[in-house]
Symmetry: C2
Subunit: 265 residues, 2 copies
């Protein structure tokens, strides 16, 4: 089941390499996952892998050979190539020598926010891939029903985002929508829109949250945009007790998510 590829001009190599760019990922609705750990998570989550690439070194470890058997049992096509060509298909320097190409569906807001949903996270121009991945992972842990990414967020299929999600990229209900559609759907579904905002007197732990909450987390440098602040039902801030000027966006979203979750359980 393993096919050798030794030319960098091979079509499969060229196609895979093209998926390192956001533009091509969006055209093809495909993305790359890289590394042994994330591939095992993908298999555990029953993610359909289109195909797998390994390099010359991958089969040197016993646990990797067992994993090849699992892929073979699932009839997943495996291509083996040189370390050099493999290196061109990934964005990291240290590699375990395995990647897979996976398809994704674009989820629209009207069909993916359900009446039963109680907890939604709205992300407004989150820029840092590590923050985005960590926020997705934390939202999964905190029992968030859907994440809505507004325009201007970093691509969630960026390899650094995927690594930071630690597998939650495969589970989470992540929607891309305009701010207008987001507000329409959430208001129709009776969500309380809660934004983190520095210029408010409301501390996040002194608010009585409603039974359906949409929490908005803003851009790392500029916070939540003005229009979304105006449309919010509740503004909250996290106190700073020491000398730090602010909290990291992933950290503040985690503190808020876990506090709000207490009132929804």
């Amino acid at each position: 089941m393993i096919t050798m590829i030794s030319s960098k001009d091979n079509e499969k190599v060229k196609y895979t390499k093209s998926l390192l760019k956001t533009k091509n990922r969006n055209k093809e609705n495909k993305f790359i996952i890289e590394g042994y750990r994330i591939l095992t998570l993908a298999i555990e989550c029953n993610v359909d892998l289109d195909y797998v690439f390994i390099n010359e070194d991958f089969e040197k470890k016993k646990e990797h050979l067992d994993f090849i058997n699992i892929l073979n049992n699932k009839n997943i096509k495996i291509y083996k190539t040189t370390n050099k060509i493999f290196g061109e298909l990934i964005d990291t320097e240290n590699t375990q020598g395995i990647l897979a190409v996976v398809g994704f569906k674009n989820r629209d807001i009207d069909n993916n926010i359900k009446n039963s949903h109680k907890f939604v996270l709205i992300l407004d121009r989150i820029q840092d891939p590590g923050n985005m991945g960590t926020i997705i992972r934390t939202a999964d842990a905190a029992g968030v029903d859907a994440i809505i990414n507004l325009k201007g967020c970093v691509d969630i299929y960026n390899p650094k985002v995927i690594r930071s999600t630690m597998g939650s990229i495969f589970d989470m209900n992540i929607i891309h929508a305009t701010q207008e559609d987001t507000l329409r759907v959430l208001k129709n579904n009776n969500f309380e829109i809660v934004s983190s905002f520095l210029n408010t007197e409301n501390y996040y732990n002194e608010v009585n949250y409603k039974d359906k909450v949409a929490l908005v987390i803003g851009n790392e440098a500029n916070g939540v945009n003005d229009e979304l602040i105006k449309e919010s039902d509740t503004l909250v801030k996290i106190p700073i007790y020491g000398n730090a000027e602010s909290l990291n966006a992933a950290i503040s979203s985690a503190i808020l998510m876990y506090e709000i979750k207490k009132s929804l359980v």
Copy 2:
């Protein structure tokens, strides 16, 4: 006040470059801070800068020239060098072209845990520089009085750690101590030792914390070590509501710090 250096064999260049290594930083008790933002934070915090290096491009921006004036008014020695030599003094690819060398003091546990302290954070083998920096920044925000780094933590003067602290490296009372000394001093000072631990029934938000808490955060992969778990007064866990296997160490420390702080305010 600006001295030109054009040779990579210059003693100041060689000395500064040597500080990229942990071993040399510890021998000299000096570290490098890099980037315009962190240097402005250092000046705001009244940190003593030993000297500054800039590259050929730094003076092209108006705000940078103003900053040079501030440095001149403080009689801080500035060395200007080529972009190529400057590039060898830093660990990043994108640079704003400014760095400073700063001294640090080693803080011992007996003199730096005070009887008035109420909230201490103990870090057990935190490995990832981004996590370490974010934990220091969050601890500063959450009003932690001291951070105790046990053996096996990443060097806090690693450039990636410093960047992630966003200036809190200059403010925080960070102590390096053995586990034995840490337990002795904290127990003598009547701290409740609280460890995050997966195999407990205690949820972090259902515990009545005492009025002096030392929170222990463990290694990213392996958690808190066995002996420290045995010596802990209280074990707590954060619930996972979704499919995520775990939380990132910086995220879980933030959720716990802000929850514990509520009972200490």
